[in-house]
């Protein structure tokens, strides 16, 4: 029900994002979605990509602070209120959303969620009839 996401600690300095992206380019890893949670001094660069395991180990080898976590990738109804309905299912179940970001895949809106209660989230997703992407749904290579 979940997909793997890379989280990378980068300093808020010119060149640090570029370095990570160059490493991924060299390893032929495709980025499917990404976002940065930024603060004044650093950022957490979160990435959905092809071959997350290989990406993680190659970044680690290059000395990058990177971790893998499991996140929900939920497909939205392509109509007004689609996002509200998904988030509504979580809040009704009293599940906190740690962070969220969204991207388009083949014209469909996908929302990535990390929650503080993964098991309760699974139940709510099943109960709410939401469709979660698996890694098999993602483009694997260019």
């Amino acid at each position: 029900m979940t997909i793997r996401q890379l989280s990378i600690f980068i300093e808020n300095q010119s060149g640090t994002l570029q370095r990570v992206l160059e490493l991924m380019k060299k390893s032929r890893i495709q980025i499917i979605a990404c976002t940065i949670a930024d603060t004044a001094e650093y950022g957490i660069f979160r990435i959905i990509c092809s071959e997350p395991d290989r990406a993680c180990s190659e970044l680690k080898q290059a000395g990058v602070a990177v971790a893998i976590s499991d996140v929900f990738a939920i497909e939205l109804d392509n109509q007004p209120g689609g996002a509200a309905d998904v988030v509504g299912i979580f809040s009704e179940a009293g599940i906190g959303i740690t962070y969220m970001y969204a991207f388009l895949l083949n014209g469909r809106g996908i929302m990535i969620f990390r929650t503080d209660q993964a098991d309760a989230a699974r139940e709510a997703i099943v109960r709410g009839g939401l469709h979660c992407l698996t890694e098999a749904d993602l483009p694997t290579h260019i």
Binding site: E11, T16, E41, R114
Partner: protein
């Protein structure tokens, strides 16, 4: 004015004779009361009878900060516990602070020495004097306080903090003198300007500045902005506290209370005494201390002793301004900080790599300390992938550092491998203050 011409204006011969007598006495005293010194002297095949004149001091062993730390808390105390009436503590390098106990006579000598300082600055019975060193374990506050009471001025124990209230008190009480760190004086000047308190509304005329190194340009700025004359006040808790030496109206070198604290300048590498006028490490022997006397204590402060007579009439020797340190100690807001203290905290947290960088700045006349540490790559995991989790981690480090260093620290987390590997001690510290 001179508080005690009998001691401050002694002929050199009389002074050396007095110092010699006192040195013999103190060596005999520690030999019989402090096993640490007895063992040291015995190892060197020395007995108190070998120390007859002040020139014999070169035969004696040195005492270091490490010795004080190793003998924590009371190992170097010479007086029996019931004779001790006050205990101060200064920051230690690896957790153990330096403990200094004072007997009633020590406090009385301290007050006398401090009175000499204040009198040299022109402070007397008619002054209202604010002590703005921290009151507490640090010797600055209470040390200066006793001296102000001794000369008979009215002491205002302002301590540190609440600068706005303090600025108003300076105006409203007609405070004429202040003892504080030079950087605090500048901060105070700034606060007054912000509150619209002008120089002609205040009566400050004397500043006793110490506990951190300062420059002539700082002196000019403080004097100009607060409309007072600023004098150096030097001291260290291991020897006594503030009052070890003091500037006179000449503002050229600080007279040492050398009938109580005998100064030497040594080469910090060979440990050989250096001739007068040469710069080296300042070493003090307490000649009259009862609570915790020290023989040839290495201050790690670099300076020189000034040859020649002072036009003020005092004959006690002067030391130059401190020109640096022979170790890596930093003085930040009057607090002594060793990089090794930061290191021990960083090493105690597995989340961080054993590399760090201290960045010291002076922003708006207040010293700031930033500690840069690297996140350890293998410790970065999925639970750390939010700013809240990372911030919690750096707050935890900042809190630990604060409890060890006694000052607030700004922690900056760096990515793995971004702090240059240390080639020597100098690369662990970037001091942007340019104090020496």
């Amino acid at each position: 004015m001179i508080w005690n011409p009998n001691k401050e204006c002694m002929s050199r011969e009389q002074m050396r004779e007095l110092q010699g007598k006192r040195l013999h006495k103190i060596v005999e005293y520690v030999y019989h009361h402090v096993p640490f010194y007895r063992n040291k002297l015995q190892e060197m095949d020395l007995s108190p009878d070998d120390i007859r004149t002040i020139d014999d001091i070169v035969k004696l062993p040195f005492t270091t900060k490490k010795d004080l730390r190793d003998n924590y808390p009371f190992g170097l105390q010479a007086a029996p516990a019931d004779e001790i009436i006050r205990i101060h503590a200064s920051s230690g390098t690896t957790g153990n602070p330096t403990i200094v106990g004072y007997t009633r006579k020590d406090i009385s000598v301290w007050s006398e020495c401090m009175a000499r300082c204040l009198t040299a600055y022109g402070v007397g019975r008619n002054d209202v004097f604010s002590v703005s060193y921290g009151y507490g374990l640090f010797t600055g506050g209470l040390g200066a306080h006793n001296g102000v009471e001794t000369v008979g001025a009215a002491v205002v124990p302002a301590s540190t903090g609440n600068t706005e209230k303090h600025a108003r008190l300076i105006r409203d009480l007609g405070i004429t003198g202040i003892a504080c760190t030079p950087s605090y004086a500048l901060y105070l000047a700034e606060t007054m300007e912000r509150l619209g308190i002008t120089k002609d509304q205040i009566k400050l005329r004397v500043g006793a500045f110490g506990a951190e190194p300062w420059t002539e340009s700082m002196r000019t700025e403080i004097q100009d902005r607060l409309g007072l004359k600023g004098y150096n006040l030097y001291g260290l808790s291991e020897i006594m506290g503030p009052s070890v030496s003091y500037e006179c109206s000449e503002q050229h070198g600080s007279h040492i209370n050398e009938d109580h604290f005998f100064p030497e300048i040594i080469d910090p590498v060979t440990l050989e005494p250096l001739p007068v006028g040469q710069t080296g490490e300042l070493v003090f022997t307490t000649l009259t201390k009862e609570g915790m006397p020290v023989l040839r204590y290495r201050t790690r402060d670099l300076c020189s002793l000034l040859p020649g007579e002072c036009p003020c009439g005092r004959t006690n020797v002067r030391m130059s301004a401190i020109q640096g340190r022979s170790d890596d100690m930093l003085i930040i807001r009057g607090i002594n900080i060793f990089p090794s203290q930061v290191e021990s905290v960083v090493l105690s947290m597995p989340e961080f790599a054993p590399r760090y960088l201290l960045v010291v700045d002076r922003i708006n006349n207040l010293d700031t300390l930033q500690v840069q540490v690297e996140l350890r790559q293998d410790y970065f995991n999925a639970t750390l992938d939010t700013p809240a989790a990372i911030d919690e981690l750096s707050k935890r480090l900042a809190a630990k550092l604060k409890s060890v260093l006694s000052i607030g620290v700004k922690v900056q987390l760096k990515a793995p491998g971004t702090i240059e590997r240390s080639q020597g001690k100098s690369t662990r510290v970037i001091d942007n203050r340019k104090l020496f």
